[in-house]
């Protein structure tokens, strides 16, 4: 039921001049999707919904928040106490950041397991990594806004990282701060950028979806769709599956928002920022812990100071994701048919969790050792394991088609409305 044939004359009139209805129908209704997507494929739409939730709650918070070092902390507490439903909006926004990262991290690991970054989805993957970087910047700046102890000291530590850049480092830090310490100008610009970044993310998400819809979703088998028997239209099959997944997700999310709203945050951030008093430990939010661990794990290497080496290692860990489509030499996408890669994948998952634990601990004793090996392994995984596995691993035979694998012998067309697949 494409829009030009709509019963509604107004819809037909608009669509002939501005084909929004055709577009929506094409991309959200008849959009052909592999019929074997598992629940791991829910996390893309969940991430999109989280972005909308964060922007919606954020705009209302912005109406009550005051970006001034003397007023910010009190304005947030005023939202918690005096603004109608302010506590709910803020707790959703605060926990939403954590859940946004949970969703996106699962989404990324799903891509790693099923080889979703491989030809022809390299740009789709790279756009995703750009979204991750933008999210990190947004989350970091957002965490500074309540102007609690961790806000202030976290901002101080992270902005100081740019001081590691040779020659111009210190000038860059002064420029970032808008002064000689993290202070009111820093808070003001972080607020402005924190409001801007989600819209940048929204734009990149648009490109991400455009790239996705060009070649369609990957699937748990990692093989291309061979014909209409392999596809089902996005609506109603995946709209309802995503809706159910959203319900399950919201239940877990709301348990945190309503019953453990402060469990994922640092209690120190309920102490007003005090530039004269360093907290006993400066720890980033949990979603940055693996990166924080890498930052602190690197010792002096030859003539490179530990600080610069750590910064390079940390940013390098993301850079590796950008070039992953060319590091992985295996033509087989799904780990289901890669008997060796499957195990290495889980090793990487364990490695990232271990690095997270390292990031949460003071760098003493065993934690230093685990941190160094964890960081080293992360690099080995990308730079050595990925290229070599493609050469030495013998993949299992791939099924001839999605349909053949699902029904063990050719399925029939799903639903009468299933469209022909694009050639």
């Amino acid at each position: 039921m494409a829009a030009p044939q709509s019963q509604n004359a107004l819809v037909r009139w608009i669509d002939r001049r501005l084909p929004v209805f055709t577009f929506i129908n094409h991309e959200l209704n008849e959009y052909p999707t592999p019929k074997n997507l598992s629940y791991w494929w829910n996390f893309g739409s969940l991430a999109g919904i989280m972005l909308v939730i964060m922007m919606a709650t954020g705009i209302f918070l912005a109406m009550e928040y005051t970006p001034n070092v003397n007023l910010a902390f009190d304005s947030v507490e005023r939202i918690m106490r005096d603004v109608n439903w302010g506590w709910l909006i803020r707790y959703i926004h605060m926990n939403g950041a954590s859940f946004f990262f949970i969703v996106v991290y699962i989404h990324i690991f799903r891509g790693l397991y099923y080889g979703s970054y491989k030809e022809p989805r390299e740009l789709l993957w790279i756009l995703g990594v750009i979204i991750l970087l933008c999210m990190m910047a947004t989350a970091f700046m957002g965490y500074v806004l309540p102007w609690g102890q961790m806000s202030y000291w976290g901002a101080t530590v992270i902005t100081n990282l740019f001081g590691a850049i040779p020659v111009v480092g210190n000038d860059i830090v002064t420029w970032l701060w808008g002064g000689f310490a993290v202070d009111n100008p820093t808070l003001n610009r972080f607020y402005a950028l924190h409001y801007l970044m989600p819209f940048v993310i929204l734009g990149v998400v648009g490109l991400h979806i455009m790239a996705l819809h060009t070649n369609g979703s990957n699937n748990p088998l990692g093989i291309d769709r061979k014909g209409p028997q392999d596809s089902i239209p996005f609506h109603p099959y995946y709209t309802i599956k995503d809706s159910f997944g959203l319900g399950v997700f919201l239940i877990i999310f709301c348990i945190f928002v309503f019953y453990f709203p402060n469990a994922l945050g640092d209690p120190q951030n309920y102490i007003r920022a005090n530039p004269l008093q360093t907290p006993p430990e400066i720890v980033p939010e949990w979603y940055f812990l693996p990166f924080y661990a890498m930052l602190r794990s690197v010792p002096d290497i030859l003539f490179i100071k530990a600080k610069l080496a750590g910064v390079l290692t940390m940013f390098g860990s993301i850079f590796l994701l950008f070039i992953l489509p060319w590091l992985d030499t295996s033509p087989v996408r799904s780990a289901r048919f890669r008997p060796v890669y499957k195990w290495w994948f889980w090793l990487l998952v364990i490695d990232v969790f271990a690095l997270g634990a390292v990031g949460a601990h003071r760098p003493e004793g065993w934690w230093i050792v685990i941190g160094r090996f964890g960081t080293l392994y992360y690099y080995i995984h990308f730079l050595i394991v990925f290229p070599l596995l493609g050469i030495f691993e013998r993949p299992l035979p791939l099924p001839t088609s999605i349909s053949a694998a699902v029904t063990k012998g050719g399925g029939k067309l799903a639903g009468a409305s299933a469209p022909m697949e694009k050639p």
Partner: protein, 273 residues
């Protein structure tokens, strides 16, 4: 459903891992904090209004001599407060506020003047500024207590199985002891079993019968500590009851909705082979 179960289990494991990392992070070397049972514990916990009022009495007569409570207004105690206050009427709130003097102004002559506090005023601090407070306490600054319960929760202390901020404050208030025989205390400090480093600048604030409760409750040290912590927990998050009450409604709605969505999903997917 068969495919869903292992997926959910894996998801739960990953979730558990995410949660465990910070728990491990916050394990501290200090004496483990004993836990206390609170009226506001659990998903249906509420503030015991009688305890909050007794705790308010303890705060007014003991804590407020040194500690401010800047984020709370007198109106918060009454029916206009978030979550409906702690059970005082509007007239009672006016009376409580009027006991304190605040500086206001300037008036028509350009002069600042003193007037009795009004319900809309924030709790009047014991000292005009931090410097004055420090000067009166050998250089130590008694912290503001508005959020003390939230800022002292040990990491994931907001989860039910670890000591909460309320437990911490209670343990500090009841944790004063004689120092071990070989340990010499610095000047102007006291030994507290649960304070990080054990040397605290605050003298033991509570003793049996420090206050005499108007409702006839026996004022033991433990009772006073329990009451004042209940009050401070209310002060840190007066909207908690609202939050939990709405949480129950939201979750019931979501569970029903998700059940319906699952049924719809099954029905729609029935013809996909």
């Amino acid at each position: 459903m068969r495919r869903l179960a292992p997926t959910l289990i894996k998801g739960a494991l990953i979730g558990a891992g995410l949660l465990l990392a910070p728990i491990v992070a916050q394990a501290q070397e200090e004496t483990p904090l004993p836990r206390t049972s609170w009226s506001f514990d659990g998903p249906f916990g509420t503030y015991d209004r009688a305890a909050v009022q007794r705790g308010f009495q303890v705060y007014q007569s003991v804590c407020s001599n040194c500690h401010s409570l800047n984020l709370v207004t007198y109106d918060d105690l009454g029916p206009n407060g978030p979550g409906g206050g702690i059970g005082y009427s509007e007239d009672q709130v006016k009376g409580i506020a009027a006991e304190k003097e605040v500086t206001d102004g300037p008036n028509d002559q350009g002069e600042m003047f003193q007037r009795p506090a009004r319900p809309s005023d924030h709790f009047v601090p014991p000292f005009p500024n931090d410097q004055a407070n420090r000067a009166a306490h050998n250089g130590a600054l008694p912290p503001d207590l508005s959020l003390i319960v939230k800022e002292r929760a040990a990491g994931l202390g907001a989860l039910p199985w670890s000591a909460s901020g309320a437990d911490y404050v209670y343990d500090i208030l009841t944790g004063f002891k004689n120092p071990p025989p070989n340990e010499k205390l610095p000047d102007n400090s006291y030994y507290n079993e649960y304070f990080p480093g054990h040397h605290i600048a605050m003298p033991p604030p509570l003793a049996d019968d420090t206050v005499s409760y108007s409702d006839g409750t026996k004022a033991t040290t433990a009772q006073e500590a329990h009451d004042v912590v209940t009050f401070l927990t209310w002060a840190a998050e007066p909207t908690m009851e609202d939050r939990k009450r709405n949480g129950a409604k939201v979750l019931i709605f979501l569970v029903v909705l998700t059940g319906l969505l699952y049924a719809a999903k099954r029905k729609i997917w029935a013809d996909v082979h």
